[in-house]
Symmetry: D2
Subunit: 368 residues, 4 copies
């Protein structure tokens, strides 16, 4: 309940700081009997890992995950799965002079008012590094959901700063450092990022993420709606300032006769709802889009104050992602998977006995 | 934990359906000693109430709240506050022919797949009527926060369908049926709504809500961030498809040198963050914006299927809001207040001893 | 989370005070499709009801329950079931002079230190009257468990003050006002209670409760063990000061070779474990015993202090149970049922896929 | 929520198995600014550690704790404190032949029915070894409570098998391997244990634990009562079959005129309540007593069955505690401290503003 545990039944408790000895998480509530090894988790960690291209932070972390518990003879036992990831490339010196200064756009000031005391090294608890255990937990959820329901997850870069990225082909996502579903736009993205880096500035991004092969019926009607829980995890991802489901903000200018997705015996005619109605999944794809703010740590000088309240100027010279939106892609996938996993368990808790004479509606005939 | 309880320490458990005998909620965890009567709650209920203008549903509900427990001699006792609101104007007949049909854009199909069995009268549990107890609980939170910290809440219509509503004056919000902070635009809004109603169609809306006089330090760093919890409650509000905090989706095209709010001894220079950094409130205004989809219940015919999977056509002739976004305004305020209240209690649980030699930064010098 | 909600997935949120307009609860998470009417609940409420014999409080309450939500056409819908019980026989005058005095053995002093402000009428929130909604919720759990697994619950008086009550026949429990499984001892119990009442004193009791036809596998290994949760609900029942499972305190003087229940192909040879090992149900009967303290409200004068700290003398002349242990019987059954229900849902959430080639061990061959 | 997390605001999430690489826990919600090092925790771990005398298991574990996160420059930061304890003396071979057999009195059978798959090495997740992280977390709670309120904790052996241990002097507890508050009885205890060990059998125990210097007002009235939460943690301790608070089962034969603790301006005259009334602490000492069953792992042959349902005989030759009650003493202290800590935080969340003109009642004048 104290803010570092995610989920009701598939519970992920996160610990660690950017520059401590290790980070990790404890997954409680995973069903028993799932084949699981470090290799099942490492793939997604490697997608999120720093240092994989010149467009992300140059911190070098292997992010090698170790399973400490909860797996016996290659199968989950149903007891807590503890995952440990060592920190190996801390350079606390980079941050020593920031101890007394609040970096604009960072958690520094807010943490200080909250706790009175904080670990400033690498952002401490506020570091995006803490998303690594989340990605690891998401890999476990993804594997179970794929095996249980055939549900799969995909995320991609939809816009990087001013550059919108038309969706061309999901197969291309894995073949460029931007998670762009469009090989053609990659040179433009590279040029943009190189220029930003030279300028000492950063940019925002829009990331899309979908779940396919969704079971219908997941989500609670009133407060723990699946859309609410998705918004919760997505807005909780570092640097996210906006979340859309389905038509998102486009629904403001839609009419009811346009927005409401018609049903036919062949399936839904569209998916403006983004796969959820009344807080409950319909079986259509879940469709989510998030806005990621530009990295706050930039080389350009910024006005700030110190702990005594005096004016100062901040320039951040450490290793940083010029666009944190890039590495947000696998993290957003993981968060979506954790929400779906949690609601899948909740659903079978309450409704395992529900039977229908009529099969679910066929897959959506319209895209997002 | 089962989906109808909101909050960790200030807990609101909601019950009821649109056409049952009554709806209500139980507030658990309210501090003792707060002066509280039905009158303190009724004002916000009246703002949300149906039938107050021709632009909202013509259902006639007094929405008179009764306090069943938790108050003794005019003061809260610290024990559960049960609030009851009778349903008085049900017309189940309006919906009888919809029992076997799934209305496009409604929860009907999703509920049926989830539960196998549902109350179709007035939308049952999916009815926006269930937001009334939330508004009542929000009124309690608002009162406590105002007395404890001077925190206040305001919400308004920012865009109604295609009509953007420039913010002119908060004082005007209470004086038109659209919660518009701009008297000048009201005739245009009325004409738009009248035309929609004649056409049997509906429209979406954008609603803004702010909290002012915020204590700094509220929110947990990793998962239960205050921005995450705000997104959770807002996306969980019926018909909401998008949530923004601060700059929201505008941050996609902002640079870091533009987005990050600079600090000066006189205060923050801007509030792109929307009052939260690293998931923790900074003391600036909380600034939230939501997208509300167009009402799904419209008179225009829509393709659908019945429970047997056969094609059918749905026309909804009952009493409905042509723009559910209008009545979303007081609800969004209430939800924001509940989140702030919950985090205020959590904060003093963990950090009641934190003392600072330096006062908080002065109020933001930039607006939302 | 705030203390008035019981359960993780089958959640019961309780509200009300002894002398307010009504008491009740909201059950969230009940599976859909359960046939449920007020009559299914009323039977257990009537067993707990005051005024049914001269040996319990003479307060006259019909304790008629009303279902406000969550049931449609006679079946649960899966949404919150709100239950309301009106208070009809309040006599607040009985307690007016106790406003400033702390009754020995009562919550008065503790509540005052906690909240600063309390409702003294009839004990307010501390009244055993608040167990009525718990009993109602337990009736729902019992019905579902009986239909789903064949699990049944029974409770009885095992000792009343100094009088141990040998277990003779469960069928006799319903036919005497003491829930004694032994008709022969009833005259002695009546004489004892009559003498106590004349003396203005009260006595304690030991109550036993069992669950039969238990599914194996319920309970979590480390903290949310089923024995832990049973102890939690039982010790939380008003006036309970001790809880035993299986052999209970007798295990202190047992040897391992005596206590550990041997297994045979025909079943367990004994049930010292009380149906749980490692926090998980084995399929044997759950066997629980509780100690209920003597009623604190007695006519005999007792030393106390008032709110100003001055010495005073308290005599309680209102209507009270001379042995609260009597009415504890149906309450303890209800609490056990709620715990089993909650863990049954948790179990199928996590382990619905677990299959065994070998059937469960046959029912225990030894008794408690 | 999934069974391995203890507490609402001071949350301890436990992980690990007896024979995995490591065990540990994550403490979330600890207030910031508490001076904390491994040394503060190690003392209690050493009291619980195996191999410290011939009367406990001869497994040799240093149980050296490592703080992985949540402490910066010697002070807690308010973020999760991860504690890691390596397993160094696993001898899995000891247990290899038990893979297919259910040991009487052990979790083996129940786990198998629950999960279908289990780690049998050293009892896996059911091992008492998993109490080490609980003890570590309890040490943090104890330190904070001592500094904040002056609250202290003590536990001792009250009865070992048939030998009752009269309380003589708390100072003697630390000076014998039985945690006996009575040096005179130690030779008898040693002789008893030596004989048991030679016989290949085991015995039960009664352990008492108290909290002194308690703040009044901790605990929630109805369900999350402090007595309920204490019973929950104590019954959840491996091998515990009974829990008493204050007079415990003695209250069955007490009269109301004897049990109810009278109040005077000088303090309570007795403490039959064990420091709690109506689920809320009164400021008197918390007084708890538990029954610990005899160790199930004994050398004497026991009837059982294997996974195929065939009869077999089990003899346990590994390293075991002949009386698990001995090492339960520091664990019970830790559990009590965690409950008090959690409720202390909950109390200041809800009631931080409550002020009294009259000081609390003076410390109890009567003992337990």
């Amino acid at each position: 309940m104290s803010g570092s545990t995610l989920g009701t039944l598939f519970c992920v408790t996160n610990f660690g700081e950017s520059h401590g000895p290790a980070i990790g998480c404890v997954i409680d509530g995973c069903p028993p009997g799932l084949a699981l090894s470090e290799a099942d988790i490492q793939h997604d960690l490697d997608r999120r890992r720093p240092g994989t291209s010149r467009h992300v932070t140059q911190r070098r972390e292997a992010d090698a995950v170790q399973i400490l518990s909860g797996v016996f003879e290659g199968l989950t036992t149903g007891t807590p799965i503890a995952l440990l990831i060592a920190n190996t490339d801390q350079r606390s010196g980079d941050y020593a002079d920031l101890l007394d200064t609040f970096r604009p756009g960072h958690a520094d000031y807010a943490y200080w008012r909250k706790y009175g005391h904080r670990d400033p090294r690498g952002g401490g608890r506020a570091s995006a590094r803490l998303t690594a255990p989340t990605v690891a937990a998401g890999a476990v959820a993804k594997k179970w959901l794929r095996e249980q329901y055939g549900t799969t997850f995909a995320g991609w870069m939809a816009q990087l700063g001013p550059i919108a990225i038309p969706f061309v082909d999901e197969a291309q996502i894995a073949h460029n450092p931007f998670f762009a579903p469009n090989a053609g736009v990659v040179p433009e993205l590279e040029a943009h990022m190189d220029a930003l880096r030279r300028a000492g500035d950063s940019c925002g991004a829009r990331v899309n993420v979908v779940a396919r092969g969704m079971p219908a019926g997941l989500g609670e009607p009133l407060y723990d709606r699946i859309d609410a829980d998705i918004a919760y995890v997505m807005m909780g991802l570092n640097a996210v300032k906006g979340v859309e489901i389905g038509a998102g903000f486009r629904c403001v200018t839609q009419k009811g006769s346009e927005h409401g997705d018609e049903l036919t015996p062949q399936g839904f005619r569209s998916n403006h709802a983004g796969g959820m109605l009344g807080g409950v999944s319909t079986g259509q794809d879940l469709v989510v889009s998030i806005a990621v703010k530009p990295t706050s740590s930039i080389r350009l000088p910024r006005a700030s104050i110190d702990r005594a309240g005096n004016p100062t100027v901040v320039q951040t010279l450490g290793r940083h992602d010029p666009c944190v939106g890039i590495r947000a892609v696998p993290i957003a996938e993981a968060l979506l998977a954790i929400v779906v996993m949690d609601h899948a368990l909740r659903q079978r808790a309450q409704c395992a006995d529900v039977r229908h004479a009529v099969p679910p509606i066929p897959g959506s005939v319209g895209g997002a």
